[in-house]
Symmetry: C2
Subunit: 342 residues, 2 copies
């Protein structure tokens, strides 16, 4: 019942020639006669011969598979990145092996090792929230396996990187609130470790400083999971204070939507009494009512760029394994999208 997968051997035996000739015939080597080529190709088609990529991978020491490690996948930004990665890979003849870290450092480490064992040609990753450093990616470096970090990166780690200017984006968002008349600004920020959470916080501070506004530590809240409900809870806290904030910049749109929900429940009008800006430009930001102003974060382009850098590095090393690679950090443009929440 179970059909046998045709190999070169099968073809060779039926034709009474050797595996070598079959291989050469299929690849149009000049030292194979036209007749033999014809016969081989015909039989190959008939038996539906398809080369075994694993065997080729062993021989060439190249799998044409890249690994992707991300914190989560049910996430507008990350799924966009993946889409970008995949469409570029498809074009270039690579496949994508995807793994999740669930934002846990230990799991992330395990996934890195798995990728290493699977002998992927390279890895694209965004660090787990628990991972301040990319130290556990070092094994890739040691064995010359290209790595591209995006979004949640470790600046000190020597490799290609793709990101947006989070600090500038946050600055734009905050200054927008100020320009709209906000005086008392709050920020619901991301976790301690991820660099982009820090950068967004810094951008927030930059804007305050530029406009001579004081930074009130009680108006800074730190998310752990960066969810809608965290945004909701922190907003409830912030909006129960004696001196209410009149503008909130949130680390993501998810959190921003949580803020909007909380404000609505407390009958605080957005944007009149409170203005909100999120970050990422995810779909919920346009769908929520009032729609949420946000900072655009081009997920698809980030993915595409990361894949391009990775494949370039892979193929450069392939051509000359000893040429020292110059690492780039590509920063993609970002901008403010103004909506009803401001």
């Amino acid at each position: 019942m179970a059909q046998h997968r045709t190999t070169l051997k099968d073809i060779a035996e039926k034709l009474g020639i050797t595996v070598t000739s079959v291989s050469k015939a299929l690849k149009d080597y000049p030292d194979i006669s036209a007749e033999t080529k014809k016969a081989v190709k015909k039989l190959a088609k008939k038996l539906n011969y398809q080369p075994d990529s694993r065997a080729i991978a062993m021989k060439r020491n190249k799998s044409n598979i890249i690994g992707v490690i991300i914190p989560e996948i049910v996430h507008y930004f990350f799924s966009n990145v993946i889409q970008g990665i995949m469409s570029y890979c498809d074009q270039k003849g690579y496949q994508a092996l995807i793994a999740l870290s669930n934002n846990q450092k230990s799991l992330e480490k395990k996934q890195v090792n798995l990728m290493f064992n699977t002998r992927v040609d390279g890895v694209i990753a965004s660090l787990a929230n628990e991972s301040a450093k990319a130290k556990h990616f070092k094994i890739l470096k040691e064995y010359n396996i290209p790595l591209v970090l995006f979004d949640k990166i470790d600046e000190r780690f020597e490799c290609n990187k793709v990101k947006i200017d989070d600090r500038f984006g946050a600055f734009l968002a905050t200054e927008h609130l100020i320009n709209k008349g906000c005086k008392r600004l709050a920020h619901i920020r991301g976790p301690q470790h991820p660099l982009n959470a820090k950068e967004r916080y810094n951008g927030f501070c930059d804007a305050l400083k530029k406009h001579n506004l004081e930074l009130d530590p009680t108006l800074i809240k730190i998310c752990e999971k960066v969810t809608l409900s965290e945004g909701y809870d922190f907003a409830k806290e912030l909006l129960a204070m004696d001196a209410l904030p009149d503008g909130i910049f949130t680390v993501t749109d998810q959190v921003g939507v949580g803020v909007i929900k909380a404000a609505q429940e407390m009958d605080i009008n957005i944007p009149k009494q409170l203005k909100v800006v999120g970050f990422s430009d995810s779909q919920i930001a346009q769908v929520v009512k009032p729609s949420l102003s946000t900072i655009h974060q081009p997920g698809y382009e980030i993915g595409e760029t990361a894949a391009r850098l990775l494949i370039e590095e892979i193929e450069t090393r392939e051509a000359d394994s000893e040429s020292p690679v110059g690492f780039k950090q590509i920063t993609l443009d970002t901008y403010l999208i103004e909506r009803e929440s401001t």
Copy 2:
């Protein structure tokens, strides 16, 4: 600079024994002396030996990689499914190679072939909108490669399947509209081919029939891309008719949100003048204002179940390649979530 990946050969040479013994020592074969084992293991650890999964895959004829082919990934439902698949795979020691069909049949076919060549152990797929039949998956069947279809399935194709009862879900949604007093019901349905779009349409009809309501063909609209903006456009058409519909059931939440946007622009009150029910229970359904009633579609569980079925089939065939496999169709529970839009 570039470090060399340790192989059995390296260890064997340094220890003056053969590859055979090294392999056996690492796997605790009884015919290797305790001393040798100790020495081998020590050196293996020191040199960070990790077996090459490709070589093992060749030998065992098993890659421990499964293929996943889905129409798109920037999609709440599909990304949830992937999450479910991956977490199950992780537990069972499998990795996931993911590919997108972009809802195109030709690309889907290409991806199936790629999966075949990569020698994945099995495939999980949801059909592209363009694919009425799963005929192009036949090659997997011919070579005894397990396949599990989910969500957008081909009922006639013999393989394991995981889905929800779309017809019943649609019936629930529609009856809910009727129970809430709607008399003139519209349905914005999915494309022609996907079975679940047909089933949802059928469920819509079932409810009308049960409650002796007439089916007005002018109130049925057919999406191509199933996007928010399609929902918006169709809603504008429907709400410009002489006899307005008072209830709309949409094939997805995306489309439902489009309807809500259109109604709001036209100053039609939801739920007073118009009630809307979506399908999928995606995040935007809770975020939109008014929040959208919907039918729950358990993406994570569907993914988990699909992975479980697939891996069970893989391992059954592994144990006994000739045992005829009985295919299951698992239907997961679904239910209505009532929100502000009704």
